[in-house]
Symmetry: C2
Subunit: 216 residues, 2 copies
Amino acid sequence: MNTLAEENYLKAIYHLSLNDVNVSTNQIAAALNTKAASVTDMLKKLADKELINYEKYQGVTLTYTGEKIALHIIRKHRLWEYFLVEKLHFKWDEVHEMAEEMEHISSVELIDRLDKFMDYPKHDPHGDPIPDRDGNFKKHELTPIASLNVNESGVISGVRDHSPTFLQYLEKQQLVIGKKIKVTDIIEYDNSMILQVENITTHISREVAKNLLIAI
Amino acid sequence: MNTLAEENYLKAIYHLSLNDVNVSTNQIAAALNTKAASVTDMLKKLADKELINYEKYQGVTLTYTGEKIALHIIRKHRLWEYFLVEKLHFKWDEVHEMAEEMEHISSVELIDRLDKFMDYPKHDPHGDPIPDRDGNFKKHELTPIASLNVNESGVISGVRDHSPTFLQYLEKQQLVIGKKIKVTDIIEYDNSMILQVENITTHISREVAKNLLIAI
DNA sequence: ATTTATTTTTAGACAAGTCTAAATTTTTTG
DNA sequence: CAAAAAATTTAGACTTGTCTAAAAATAAAT
Ligand SMILES: [Mn+2]
Ligand SMILES: [Mn+2]
Ligand SMILES: [Mn+2]
Ligand SMILES: [Mn+2]
């Protein structure tokens, strides 16, 4: 159907589209660790297949079909991540690279059965929503802890940075999905925040606060 | 590490090596649905990497390293087949094509945990042995039902033909792994065989008898 | 509104893997 | 054992996806 490279481009374009309506050649190149010239070549191919809308120098958007394909790959990625954590007991910082390979397994029946096997999980280990087989999902409105004021609270529900180092740090601080937190103080000097995480008090930098998301 | 194409060649050579010490270019081409010229190109590459012993016009054998890699791919293939049947409830004739893709997922830790998750199965859904992480397995000595005489019996433990049509036929006749069978008669005219499978009497052709394996 | 800087595209090349057609080697056979 | 047949390798070409370097277009800045 589509090659591995094409799938990776579609997925990257989808993710970049969440921040910008039109996605630029250079953004894609950066996301895929490749060069702008290579991206241009691929954009032509994807446009020929009518998976993206592409006008020279103007950046791209996904077509309806392109978005469906991207969402299906993301569905597979997140279901496999859930499987790896819930069934094989990997930690949340260990699964992304494996899922990058597994998301390209083509069988639709397989992924639907995997979904059922795990009882239709709604979110992956990082709190990201898992699209259903039609590509639909509820996008939960999350805010960074950084946007809270003193005495406000919420439940940790997602991360903005998926890097293993960040995830490992969070785990060590017990700042994991589902934990209820409350901002008890904000240090004026560097805007760092003091959190109450259940019984524990934790001090996090502004940087961390920006990348840790909560539902209020 | 190795490309998808290289892995498929190594696996094909391994399987063909079970029947012939030296594997020929044409045999590999047939097994992989490709052309002899393409095979020659790849054999040079695999020889450069010291994964096969190759002398022009003489056919190939796997090196120690080449065989280890082949066995690791086969381990992954069979563990995923087991997973698909035992956990996702696919039928034994449905899983091979999916496993052809899944066998290339690279993580060793993943496959070891999958192995543990399923409690270290020894055979895949078709009765083929699953190598352990070091590539070791007990090769069970199986014989085709065709080699039995009247009144001899055994337990169905493997198949020589893995095609969906054959597997579907066997399932319909209840001739599945683990069933005890006894040869009650052999028809002289066409060498077909009458079997007692638990309470049922079944009549199978010589062709089927040759491709259905039992442990005695 | 030009000039400069940045982004994007084009041109040309390369590696992997495949193919067809032709040349070579091995095997078979009369 | 020489001629024919079969198997294998080489030569040259093509596709996919990538790259560098140069050209063209767009955006930013004086
Ligand atoms: Mn991920
Ligand atoms: Mn995730
Ligand atoms: Mn199989
Ligand atoms: Mn099998």
